[in-house]
Subunit: 187 residues, 2 copies
């Protein structure tokens, strides 16, 4: 059972409208960055393979060697079939991995870490809220994008609230009895 999400993400974006590899790279670095980042060095090879398999097709050329791709009927069927498959729920979150190891820090260090994280999430929330406030697109896929954006907003708000709560927990533990920075074993 293969994942190959990038392949389908590209297909999905091309289902919305024809794009160049460069356009795709900007989208993967923009609105899709939080769910599926991808760099141009990954994108160009998958465009080549998708075109090879007849799932997309180069529809036009532009100024600086620009190649505009569009999805084919076969490609559309392919992504629709993928959407009907069982999603993979595994995901990796390097920032949250650290939370498990926060006990290895001094309390004030852990609190500073959480404060830094809160700042990052507040910036992201602002970005998402600006997106939601912006003029609504008339594209067909706009409503799905709006659902995703709403999730992003709730997610960031949730983290910010949890973060404040977590800092409070650490502060009260550190103030209370029996809080000791970790220091196991001999060498």
């Amino acid at each position: 059972m293969r994942i190959m999400s990038l392949r389908y993400a590209v297909l999905g974006l091309l289902a919305d409208r024809p794009r160049t590899g460069y356009d795709l790279a900007r989208t993967f670095d923009g609105s899709l960055a939080h769910v599926w980042p991808a760099s141009h060095s990954q994108i160009y090879p998958v465009l080549a393979r998708l075109a090879d398999g007849g799932l997309i097709r180069q529809s036009a050329s532009g100024p600086r060697g620009k190649r505009i791709y569009e999805i084919t009927r076969a490609g559309l069927e392919e992504i629709r079939a993928w959407l009907r498959t069982e999603p993979d729920h595994g995901s990796r979150n390097p920032a949250f991995l650290r939370v498990f190891f926060l006990w290895l820090m001094e309390p004030d260090e852990a609190i500073r870490f959480l404060e830094d994280e809160a700042r990052v999430h507040e910036a992201t929330l602002l970005e998402f809220e600006a997106g939601a406030a912006g003029s609504p697109s008339d594209r067909e896929g706009a409503w799905a994008f709006r659902l995703a954006l709403e999730w992003g907003i709730r997610y960031e708000r949730g983290i910010i609230e949890w973060n404040a709560w977590a800092r409070d927990q650490i502060a009260s533990m550190a103030g209370g009895a029996g809080f000791e920075p970790a220091s196991p074993l001999r060498d």
Copy 2:
């Protein structure tokens, strides 16, 4: 700038207590599965490399060729240094990637997808709540684990609420005027 989170995740778990590769694999498949899944085929090679670099050490052997590893002072310094570095906020979420492409489905199909997702998240929430209700550990790292668990509970609750809201949005759009399943282009 390298990530190599697995290396630090292993180090962090061994800072808590000595473990075997098998123990680690079970933890990566259990409590860490939601933030950093890893399989045994990844774990054994990193154990070998960490031991090679003097960051961990095999402290004992057991019955079935069991090898128990413990962290060294150098390893403890290494993970603490890592905790002070800037975290990477990129993450991949294959289930949420699909939300961006929900517009390619018929409304009832999209709603069924979301219902399935809701079921998965309700099960995970139950699992987390059971973990929180369980007897508190007296391990040093227990409080950090508790913070992570609390985040997990809030996260799952947030998704479940968003999911119901999203289904409602789709239902009201489909009921209302101008909702058309997507179907671009000629072949």
